[in-house]
Symmetry: C2
Subunit: 200 residues, 2 copies
Amino acid sequence: MSLREKKKIETKNRIFEVSGRLVKEKGFENTTVDEITTEAGIAKGTFFNYFPTKEALLLYFVEQKDELIYNLIENETKRSIPTKEKIKNLLVRLAESYEKDKELTKLLIFEYRRYIGYSGLKPGEDKSRSHRLNKILHDLLEVGVEKREVKSHIEVKKAAEILTAVYFHSLIVWLKSESCFSFSMDISGKIDLLFEGIGD
Amino acid sequence: MSLREKKKIETKNRIFEVSGRLVKEKGFENTTVDEITTEAGIAKGTFFNYFPTKEALLLYFVEQKDELIYNLIENETKRSIPTKEKIKNLLVRLAESYEKDKELTKLLIFEYRRYIGYSGLKPGEDKSRSHRLNKILHDLLEVGVEKREVKSHIEVKKAAEILTAVYFHSLIVWLKSESCFSFSMDISGKIDLLFEGIGD
DNA sequence: CTTTAAATATGACTATGGTCATGTATGACT
DNA sequence: AGTCATACATGACCATAGTCATATTTAAAG
């Protein structure tokens, strides 16, 4: 690895490290790019050589954290248990990992939404977090149909979207609520309801 | 009405009118407060006497539009038809009203999310759009339980949240998609699925 | 070791949302 | 009508995200 590459990585890491500390201390909005660059010992412009906008930094944080979580969870989907249990386990594990630090989750999720809601529009590709979960759920449901654990005539695409929708909406509701009900319990109950159906 | 009040209303209307025009022409981000105030013939500071932030203006737009839509729809919920049909009609009507101008909807929804995702956190009260729909659906479901059209043992709260979640998520997916599938058809199918259940 | 071109760093500069001390119009009270 | 407190308007000013022409560093070629 050339000196250049080494320096590049080092600089990016320093930005990441410094900004992580500052954001945890004072929140994202209250942390200025000036502060980050000063603290990191680089010029302001340099920051924008590494992250196109201040919010891209946040995106990077979220991506890093998601990567960790999804890796931990991937194994879960490989066990041979009923489809419904698999989906429930997956979403409950996800929920639990967010429950570990509600404040941090709040920070990351809301800022992320803010950013993605906007710039996420322009490119044809949607790399949003919901897409990733949606794909996993879609695959699980397809297997479920094959195993006759999921209604064979349902549109798997719609069902996956429903599960994704419920998961993310519940996450937002939980994050916004002052009362500290359990997100994982909530999502677990909702999955039961979704598999059973609402109608009588 | 005093002269003062008249002037106040007139000024607010002028801001609303001018900014509406500019935003439609050039988008929200590309419309500056300076432009709006210049065009409206007022000083910059005056703008902030009427709207605490630039984004509050957008909030105002959305509220105005929502008011119209919900008023149109309210009657729908009063007809004596099965609960499922009522809910379906409600959401399909909502969907149809958004389908009328996808671009405008995109603009309003995404900018709104951006704003609310952030400032919507601070106050205990959540006046978000999803709350309003959630309440309506909750009420409809409760009636449905009484009429034995909805499973009596289900938690109505969870069911309402699920419907709300699916509606808004589908809206976002639709807005983001390039292909022009019908949002109202999509939501209609999903409601069938939700009432039937996913499991076999 | 020089020279050179490309990658990278730099910080003065711009654009814009938002603030605030000050000025001005309004209407209640005498 | 004249006086005064209050609500409202004003625009100079500030903070900060993001840009860009220029300077510097690196790596390769001669």
